[in-house]
């Protein structure tokens, strides 16, 4: 099996190397074939592995590939742990990645227009893009397949690197290179916590290996650390690790980078900033469930952060006009749902939503990309309208994605999101009631912003200029095929997998839940098949709120919009202080820009100007040089060159010495 797993990991890496270093030689077609073949092999084998776990009863694989370093008796290793959780992640990552590779052939086909005339960096940009997305796939696989904390951190930072490279892919755009720096730094704030968490594990467990750490974790359940006036070790470790997850999975207040990351080309928004990388935090917490289960404080913290993100980020989605930013805020909100599920110890539900979301959100992003291509890279939904007539496949698949997103009964998102809300409702964790309220209200918000966007883009009268309108047409098959490929699981995957994942505990040993925390038990015990679950869901508040949102969106942006095409602008103008707060994104960006970016520079300037230049150089260094000069000047006065001065000095000296001798 080791060879299979190595192939899965290395095939995309080889593709990335070929496309990246030899892009000029093999040309565009060579690059997209190399990269897509690598990821294709990886996807095929990953799905085979998933199949082996479903039908073949494949055993958990946990082996070392090589020893990275041995220091102070601790072995740092590179190795794979493939259990059902990992297999599921591998399947999702490689499948979406493969779809995105195909899509990219169409999306990046005329990328030279995005580069200034004569830019040598723009010459092989197409090949470079393929290299990056293959490299990303490699990094993400290293992350999910790791069997230890070191390699987890490796993958964690490597996906961050590729994300940085891809957000700033169009490096000529000031907004893009601002966004990628911001994304990297905000993620580094998360990693700062993450590495301290790893250090804590190193200190107490003397091991980086998951299996060993998890096995010994209960020994430390009662250990206290003398910090912040006494805190449990597990709480400390879990919260530190979770700070990393807050960066990577864009949870409040480290969410600020994700909307800006939309500066990157759309395929990577789908792959990295919706389906895979941003879910690394969710995967990590689920993987660490044996640790998180030992700290109710950490779980409640996770739950509340997730719920707050889910509701409040969804609200911002209402006032966005850039098609990608609407989807980005919806991603933030959905990540919040997953995080909240983890906080309620419903890890399986979080992972379940991760999977369904990967499909329908990648679909929505790719559909948005298809629209953007048709609109000649205009992303403002106020300039769209009526696109369903020109782009039927994009329209239908986007509708499917939107229905899945708002948890329309029967679609994949329905099963996963309903399960999360139910689990949080059944949870006894501190703050679960509040979280449940936010998540339930979130269902209304989700439906509202999703269908606002849907109607403004695909319905109503076309609002684009005549030139653009006359060129509107459905995109090429390399673009629409991935849409269809993702639309299918967006509809069915929930129905198909809800029973094994949530009821029959398919993830098994990969996840550990304390019996008293098991918030999914109620759902499992009252399971009477998917139909009953749908019917049950349709009698609960989340459903009614989602339908309310859908109806309200239909009323405003479909019915009213027909007679008053300016209704959207009017609403935004009338929204008052609430609208302004939302438009300001609660002021996080301004705050960070002033306090952290500005403050950091101001303090640096102060340290440099006052500390280094004035005090140290001016005072200590040049000061001592001046002192030496001054003393030398004083002493020089004595060397007059006149013999009688010296003679007098000698006589005085002699007298003083003699006096001393006599006196003593």
């Amino acid at each position: 099996m080791e060879n299979v797993y190595l192939t899965i990991v290395l095939a995309p890496l080889i593709g990335a190397i070929v496309a990246g270093f030899f892009g000029g030689v093999i040309g565009r077609a060579g690059a997209h074939w190399a990269a897509s073949t690598g990821v294709g092999i990886s996807a095929f084998l990953s799905l085979w592995v998933v199949g082996a776990f479903i039908w073949g009863g494949a055993p958990t694989f946990n082996e070392t590939v090589y020893t990275w370093m041995v220091s102070d008796g601790i072995r740092f290793e590179i190795g794979f742990l493939v259990d059902r959780l990992t297999a599921l992640m591998m399947g999702v990552v490689t499948f979406v990645s493969f779809a995105v590779h195909i899509y990219t052939i169409g999306y990046m086909a005329d990328d030279e227009h995005n580069w200034p005339e004569g830019s040598r960096a723009g010459r092989n940009s197409y090949q470079r893009f393929f290299s990056y997305i293959s490299l990303f796939t490699f990094s993400m696989l290293m992350l999910v397949m790791s069997n230890n904390f070191l390699q987890l951190f490796f993958g964690w930072e490597a996906v961050g690197l590729v994300s940085y490279l891809l957000i700033g892919f169009w490096s000529v755009r000031e907004s893009a290179v601002f966004a990628n720096l911001k994304a990297f730094l905000v993620n580094r704030v998360g990693d700062f916590g993450f590495i301290l968490g790893i250090a804590a594990i190193g200190m107490y467990f003397n091991s980086m290996d998951y299996a060993e750490v998890f096995a010994r974790a209960p020994e430390f359940a009662e250990t206290q650390v003398a910090l912040f006036g006494g805190v449990s070790l597990m709480t400390l470790i879990c919260i530190l690790l979770f700070i990393g997850a807050m960066g990577k999975s864009a949870q409040v207040p480290l969410h600020v980078w994700l909307p800006d990351s939309m500066e990157g080309p759309t395929p990577i928004s789908a792959l990295i900033h919706a389906a895979t990388m941003v879910t690394a935090g969710i995967f990590m917490v689920a993987r660490m469930s044996p640790l998180y289960e030992l700290s109710t404080t950490a779980l409640s913290f996770v739950l509340l952060i997730g719920a707050i993100t889910a509701f409040f980020m969804g609200l911002i989605g209402l006032v966005q006009n850039d098609i990608k930013r609407v989807v980005a805020y919806s991603t933030l909100s959905q990540l919040g749902y997953m995080i909240a599920a983890l906080g309620a110890s419903a890890y399986a539900a979080g992972i379940f939503h991760l999977m369904t979301h990967a499909f329908f959100k990648a679909l929505l992003f790719l559909a948005a990309g298809s629209v953007i291509m048709a609109m000649h890279h205009d992303q403002d939904i106020r300039n769209m309208g009526g696109l369903r007539r020109y782009m039927p496949i994009t329209w239908m698949t986007a509708l499917i994605g939107s229905l899945a997103l708002i948890a329309f009964p029967g679609f994949s998102g329905f099963f996963s999101k309903d399960a999360i809300i139910e689990a949080v409702g059944d949870s006894h964790a501190f703050g679960a009631g509040f979280a449940w309220l936010l998540l339930t209200l979130g269902a209304f918000v989700t439906a509202l912003y999703s269908f606002r966007m849907y109607y403004l883009v695909f319905h109503g009268k076309p609002r684009m200029d005549e030139h653009t309108r006359s060129h509107l047409h459905e995109t090429r098959w390399v673009v629409t095929l991935p849409l269809i490929a993702l639309a299918i699981p967006s509809v069915f995957i929930g129905w198909m997998t809800v029973e094994p994942l949530l009821v029959n505990n398919w993830l098994g040993d990969a996840i550990y839940v304390k019996p008293e925390h098991d918030s999914l038990r109620h759902l499992a015990e009252h399971w009477h098949g998917q139909k009953a679950f749908i019917l049950h869901g349709m009698s609960a508040p989340p459903f009614w709120l989602a339908m309310g949102g859908l109806l309200l969106a239909t009323y405003i942006w479909w019915f009213l919009h027909r007679s008053r095409p300016t209704i959207d602008e009017e609403l935004q103008a009338k929204s008052g202080p609430v609208g302004r707060i939302l438009a300001d994104k609660y002021g996080f960006d301004d705050f960070n820009q002033r306090v952290f970016a500005g403050g950091g520079r101001a303090i640096g300037q102060l340290f440099w100007g006052t500390g280094d230049r004035t005090l140290i150089d001016g005072g200590m260094v040049n000061g001592s040089a001046r002192l030496v000069g001054y003393l030398a000047g004083v002493i020089r006065q004595m060397q007059t060159g006149f013999l009688y001065h010296y003679a007098i000095a000698m006589i005085i000296g002699l007298v003083v010495l003699l006096t001393l001798f006599v006196a003593l």
Binding site: S71, S119, R120, L161, R188, L227, F607, G611, I616
Partner: protein, 516 residues
């Protein structure tokens, strides 16, 4: 047979004699002298390889030892040897020098033979510093090192080179005279100048503290540690590219090496007593200098400040051992701290060397180091841009590059000592990324800044080779640091045991200050 051969003598004197020959031959056949210089540097590197290949990593004692009288009337010996601490540093020296020679190839037009010769002599002297086991021999090399560097900055340096050279010279000289006094004091105690004999001396606490401070003054200036660091940015700014590379990649390491060779083993009680001071200065280096680096407008100054911040990790890793023992009652993690500091030194040699080469590439074309004079370089120099991004990421400690390994080890070790120390140390994840990548953003990315940037041409094959080899090494150490760490650990384990035994004239007492 191979282990018997006087490899160390060869590695010290081959480049020195070669360097003198290059200088004497002058610039009449400039092309030929350059090739001679390159050949000498490559041969020296190959001559240093046996030190690694025949090194017995399991043996913490000195190897490749050579010992003979030098000035017998004063008990001064020609005494050389290497262990797991000095051997990697010698290889770093012989390796980096090759790139310095190549980097100066057609950039240096004024007396290139003297330039190359100075670097070769410098190389031999630095190897001498790392391998000397006689205190006076060490001191001889230590001071001799200043001369070629003084000349390199003073002759081939920038407009303000006189101020920079004098500052550099006085700063470092100021530190080292105190060291000389300490060495002579110990000679009277031990009746020998052998550094290994110093290691076994019993010294009272008062004397230990004075010796420790004397060493600290010498080494802190070299590292450099806050607040005696301000010579470094000035020296870097004025130095030619090769000078900056040697300064950052190797000369700074001599201070760190001194702590391991002298301060810790000779004065463990004083080290334990004063470790709080070193830790505080190290953390100031990480945080304060990190913030100072953020606001630099000159690329070389920025990288110089980044070097100081990174060297903070080295001293932190070296001196965290006592706090670990005090806090946890065991020395678990102490070896990792010192190993981490060592790895950080080696890695910083590659990364900062490469970054200075990168600045040199731009400076040779534009004659400016100001960040504001650039912008959008990626559009005219895509290969160069790729290298800069790579080395910047390594500088920011990205896993998979060598820059991560040392920082990671030191953070892991420091966490055992104190959460807040680790907390402050880990801010480098944010600060190093901020100052490095912000510079990259302004220089490499964005729209083409001006017409001169628009006319830049990408790397020539020689520059490509230089950066490519360094990138490969940075990547190799990041992906598989085991060989490097394995070579060092037995020596460091031995050192950690040694420094926990008190040197106070009371038999078998544990080190003062770390008694729980």
């Amino acid at each position: 047979m191979l282990a018997e051969f006087p490899w160390l003598t060869l590695v010290i004197w081959l480049p020195i004699i070669g360097g003198i020959a290059v200088i004497v031959s002058g610039d009449k056949a400039a092309e030929l002298t350059k090739w001679v210089a390159l050949t000498v540097s490559v041969l020296t590197f190959f001559a240093s390889l046996p030190l690694w290949l025949n090194f017995d990593a399991s043996n913490p004692a000195m190897q490749f030892v050579q010992r003979s009288d030098w000035i017998p009337t004063l008990d001064i010996e020609y005494y050389l040897g290497v262990d797991g601490i000095s051997m990697p540093l010698i290889l770093l020296t012989t390796f980096i020098t090759i790139f310095v020679v190549i980097a100066g190839w057609d950039v240096i037009t004024y007396k290139p033979s003297h330039y190359m010769g100075a670097f070769l002599i410098m190389e031999g002297i630095m190897v001498g510093v790392f391998s000397a086991l006689d205190a006076i021999l060490f001191y001889f090399f230590w001071e001799a090192m200043l001369i070629p560097m003084f000349i390199i900055i003073g002759v081939w340096g920038g407009p303000n080179r006189v101020y920079a050279t004098i500052k550099f010279f006085l700063y470092t000289f100021f530190g080292s005279v105190f060291m000389l006094v300490a060495l002579i004091y110990m000679y009277f105690q031990a009746d020998s100048f052998s550094i290994l004999d110093f290691h076994t001396l019993q010294i009272g606490m008062g004397a230990q503290i004075l010796i420790f401070i004397a060493f600290l003054l010498a080494f802190a200036v070299k590292v450099p540690m806050f607040p005696v660091h301000t010579w470094l940015p000035d020296a870097h700014v004025e130095a030619p590219t090769g000078g900056s590379v040697i300064l950052a990649a190797i000369m700074l390491k001599i201070g760190g090496y001194g702590f391991l060779r002298f301060s810790l083993p000779i004065t463990p009680d004083a080290s334990a007593y004063l470790d709080g001071l070193i830790i505080a200065l190290s953390l100031i280096a990480v945080v304060y200098i990190g913030l100072v680096a953020l606001v630099q407008k000159d690329m070389k100054k920025l990288i110089a400040y980044s070097s100081i911040a990174h060297m903070g990790f080295v001293t932190l890793g070296f001196f965290i051992v006592f706090t670990i023992v005090r806090q946890t009652g065991s020395d678990d993690g102490a070896v990792m701290g010192i190993s981490g500091g060592m790895v950080q030194m080696i890695s910083h040699g590659f990364i900062s060397g490469a970054l200075f080469l990168c600045v040199g590439v731009l400076y040779d074309r534009m004659h400016s180091r100001e960040i504001a004079d650039y912008g959008g370089v990626i559009h005219t120099m895509p290969w160069f841009g790729a290298f800069v991004v790579f080395f910047a990421m390594a500088n920011a400690g990205l896993p998979g590059t060598s820059g991560f390994v040392g920082e990671f080890m030191v953070i892991l070790a420091t966490f055992r000592a104190d959460f807040w120390y680790a907390f402050l140390a880990a801010t480098t994840l944010i600060l190093a990324a901020a100052f490095t990548l912000w510079m990259v953003k302004r220089v490499i990315f964005g729209e083409v800044g001006n017409d001169r940037v628009a006319k830049l041409r990408d790397l020539n094959p020689r520059e490509f080779l230089n950066l490519g080899v360094l990138a490969a090494v940075v990547l190799a150490v990041g992906i598989w640091p085991k060989p490097l760490v394995d070579v060092m650990e037995p020596t460091i384990e031995n050192l950690v045991e040694q420094i926990q035994v008190s040197k106070l004239p009371v038999p078998n007492a544990p080190v003062a200050g770390i008694q729980p």
